[in-house]
Amino acid sequence: MARGMVSYTLAKIAHRILTLIFVVLIIYTLLRLAPGTPFDQYLYQGKITQEQYEALLREWGYKDSFLVGAAKILYGMVTFSLFKMKSPVYNKPIIDLISVRLPYTLSLVTAAYFFGAMLGMILGLYCARNRGTLKESIIIWITLGIRSLPVFWLGMVLLYVFSFKLGLFPFLTSSELHPCNIFHHMIDWLWHSLLPIIALSKIYAVSYLLTIRNMVAEEYTNDYVISLRAIGLKEGYIVERHVLRNIMPPVITMMAIDLGFLFGGAVVTETVFNYPGMGTLIYSAIWNKDYPVVLASFYIIAVAVIVAITIAEITYAYLDPRIRRG
């Protein structure tokens, strides 16, 4: 079994590396097709001459051919120097820009993810166990209603109600406090970030609620559940020890993919709440035509998603040996 797992894992990793290279080349191609450069505004405002503009384009590689540019990107990936490339807008290494933003994004999106996923699972299980009742219908109606609300609108309503009208939370997520211990830091962070966490978690809560509810409801129709009830096992035990285990593989896949996308942040939420994370960096980079930063950011997201899917597949294979055998 161990040898089977090792060869399976190695094969998956090799496959994923090829996938990553392919994804990066696609992103690079799309960026090459997009018009504009960061220096256009200086030219249009007459701050630089046409010759200076051409020199800047040559310096920053905007005049490189497709193959030369692609070769530079692949070289950067292989030698792990992709993030040492500089941003033409900030004139700083990309790693300096991303390293400041990434912790913010991870803290926000992880908190929203776990809060939303937990809430979604708990409510999903509750709805599955009470399917057909009025309580379940009310929860589903509310869920579908919340699902259709755009995140940016929900964010602005939360700010209006809780920050402006009630004054319970600050508008901005930045804090000038310098906490002297970890608890203070956590609570101060929570106070500043609770509204964007609530706004963002609705995405995860809604999707996990509906998924878990549908899958558990489907499992309940199986004969083994009836048998276990007939034996006299409690409902909670049946759900925890049998039903959940059977629905875990697809749920793990879903969680893994969502975890991977955490690195990309949430552009809309971060913009509404002025949260200085990866989402706003990517948004600004696209807006400013800062293509090295866009490429590096999407590279991180691609790596995170691919790693997460690979771990999910390996875990899946470990849990269910039938997968390994193909």
Binding site: G36, R101, L166, S174, E176, H178, H184, L194, N274, P276
Partner: protein, 597 residues
């Protein structure tokens, strides 16, 4: 047993969060909280947004700056200066103030000025913040003595007063810091550490959190005396609505955001009755035009452009969205009344008054006729004709889309079909010339920005080219004669290079409960250099509240109520806020503790 340990853990968490004193970063005294938009680089030489310049303006000093009214130049680092002719050359000598200190205690000397100017000259394509007029024709920079620096210009240099205006954009940087590679390895990069941002302005940088805020503290050795405002925080905001709410509820004192049209009326309703919120209104420098693409037919035909001018009731269109007090009619000569003696004010309705019959007559004469009876005119050789109109880029006012629709409506009445493009790739199409007409906003900063219509200027995307205009502009730039500016503007108006739409009247709110001396002016609104050098309002004693869940101050609903000034809304909110959420956490888990199996 488990519940006991859980309760103990929660109690420890709660007590430690409440009992430990937070190291609050707010200084004692008055701290103003201001808002600016996102900047790209916080570097005095490469800064390319007004938001970064607003911050840098408080940290660095130029040689010359605008006065409080924003209309005249006065000495800043330079105590005085003089222009002299030496043969064919012009020599500009700056006499620096003595005893001016950098934030690290060293003295500002002529070597710093020479270093800054030569650094700018070495790479003007990267150092885009200072005006290039400073180095146009510059032959040499000489240090005469410790406090005197001379710049030698040749004949192509700009006129004296334009040079003076140009020097307001050059922040002098410390040579000893900028030459130190361990502090600033790359002078073209964004700077985000206080030790890199050493200036000699009234405030010094104490903290930079990229993407969040910049904190400045009053510099005690400032040559005009330590500012009475102790510290300033510039927070980054991207949304005007949030800005409005934060000013209304006291979380912000002011910001570089402004409103116009119906947004202003909504904000006024939000703060009505609050005597602590004032609104500053001023005509903007910016001008919005309907530009023609001279590289395409028939937009390079003067008669066709005149027909468009006669077909549009510009004042009526603009008033629909800006009201009668939200915008000033634009001038067909480009420069608006903001530019004083340099502006020959020619509103479009005075030069080409709305006359759709005349427009139709001109179009008929040019051969544009509706051959197939569909209500739209075809080209003289019978082909379908459509005008492709760009309206706005993301971030611009949505009013421009609406104004584009109105333009299409009025042009339809004279038989011209218009396709209004509201897609987001405005700048790409503008730069590539893939448009016929475009609503475009310009922000001229000085009269010599008429350069944007000279033939070889890279900013001339319209494609207008006139030899007389080019020659006249060169003369204007070197002499500074306002009558030459008027002649340039007449050329633009007579050639209908564009149709002037409006100069927006902008309005920005600010609070006066903690600070009154904002000295707003049309150039920098409420956040100019002079805005933070006044006296704060003396705080009246207030009782502190207990640690209840935090609350930021609510807007006053009574006209007689005055809110007592606080030292720092953010820090006091933070102190209250830590206890509040901690208490909330405890209350939230109490049911868990009490749950019985």
């Amino acid at each position: 047993m488990t519940r006991k340990w859980l309760s103990l853990l929660l109690a420890v968490l709660f007590l430690s969060s409440v009992a430990a004193v937070p190291k609050v970063s707010a200084s004692p005294g008055t701290e103003l909280v201001l808002a600016v938009g996102k900047w790209k680089t916080l570097n005095p030489l490469t800064s390319s947004t007004v938001y970064s310049n607003i911050i840098l303006d408080k940290v660095y000093e130029p040689l010359i700056r605008w006065d409080k009214s924003g209309t005249k130049v006065v000495g800043a680092l330079a105590e005085r200066w003089e222009f002299k002719k030496e043969g064919d050359n012009k020599v500009l000598t700056f006499y620096l103030r003595k005893g001016v200190k950098w934030h690290d205690g060293k003295e500002v000397t002529a070597e710093d000025v020479k270093f800054t100017i030569e650094l700018f000259k070495s790479n003007p394509s990267k150092f885009v913040n200072p005006d290039t007029l400073i180095i146009n024709g510059l032959q040499e920079v000489k240090v005469v003595d410790k406090y005197t620096v001379q710049l030698v210009y040749n004949q192509s240099a700009a006129a004296d007063k334009f040079l003076e205006m140009a020097f307001t954009t050059l922040y002098i940087v410390p040579k000893h810091v900028w030459e130190d590679k361990s502090v600033i390895p790359d002078p073209t990069a964004s700077l985000d550490k206080p030790k890199q941002l050493i200036g000699c302005g009234p405030f010094k940088v104490v903290e930079v959190k990229p993407g969040e805020y910049v904190k400045l503290q009053a510099f005690k050795d400032y040559y005009l005396g330590k500012p009475e405002v102790d510290s300033v925080i510039f927070k980054i905001l991207t949304d005007k609505n949030q800005f409005a709410m934060m000013v209304a509820n006291g979380e912000l004192d002011a910001g570089y955001f402004y409103f116009f049209g119906k947004y202003l009326k909504e904000f006024e309703k939000m703060v009505s009755g609050d005597p602590n919120v004032k609104i500053y209104r001023a005509p903007s420098k910016s001008t919005h035009l309907l530009a023609f693409n001279f590289k395409r037919w028939p937009y390079n035909n003067l008669e066709f452009r005149k027909a468009i001018a006669y077909a549009l009731p510009v004042d009526k269109i603009v008033q629909k969205y800006y009201g009668t007090d939200g915008a000033k009619p634009g001038s067909m000569g480009f420069l608006g009344p903001f530019f004083g003696e340099y502006c020959k004010y020619m509103p479009k309705e005075k030069v080409y008054p709305y006359n759709p019959d005349k427009a139709k007559e001109i179009l008929d004469k040019l051969g544009f006729k509706d051959v197939n009876g569909d209500g739209y005119r075809e080209t003289p050789d019978g082909k379908p004709f459509k005008i492709y109109l760009l309206t706005r880029a993301p971030g611009d006012s949505f009013f421009r889309d609406a104004i584009g629709d109105e333009i299409a409506k009025y042009l339809k009445e004279v038989g011209l079909k218009v396709e209004v493009d509201k897609a987001g790739d405005y700048w790409d199409k503008w730069g590539a010339g893939s448009w016929d007409m475009a609503i475009v906003g310009y922000v001229p900063h000085k009269p010599t920005d008429l350069i944007w219509f000279t033939s070889n200027n890279p900013g001339n995307r319209i494609g207008f080219s006139d030899k007389t205009y080019d020659e006249l502009f060169q003369k204007f730039q070197t002499t500074g004669d306002p009558t030459l500016a008027h002649k340039l503007e007449e050329i633009l108006a007579n050639n209908v290079v564009f149709i002037a739409l409006y100069h927006p009247i902008v309005a920005t709110p600010y609070r006066v409960d903690r600070y009154k001396d904002w000295s707003p002016n049309p150039r920098f609104l409420t956040l100019g250099y002079w805005s933070l050098l006044g006296k704060p309002v003396k705080p009246t004693p207030t009782t502190t509240t207990s640690s209840t869940p935090s609350s930021t101050p609510k807007p006053s609903t009574s006209s007689t109520t005055t809110s007592s000034p606080k030292t720092s809304p953010t820090s006091s909110g933070g102190e209250k806020g830590i206890c509040g959420p901690a208490a909330l956490m405890l209350f939230a888990v109490l049911p868990l503790l009490r749950r019985r199996r």
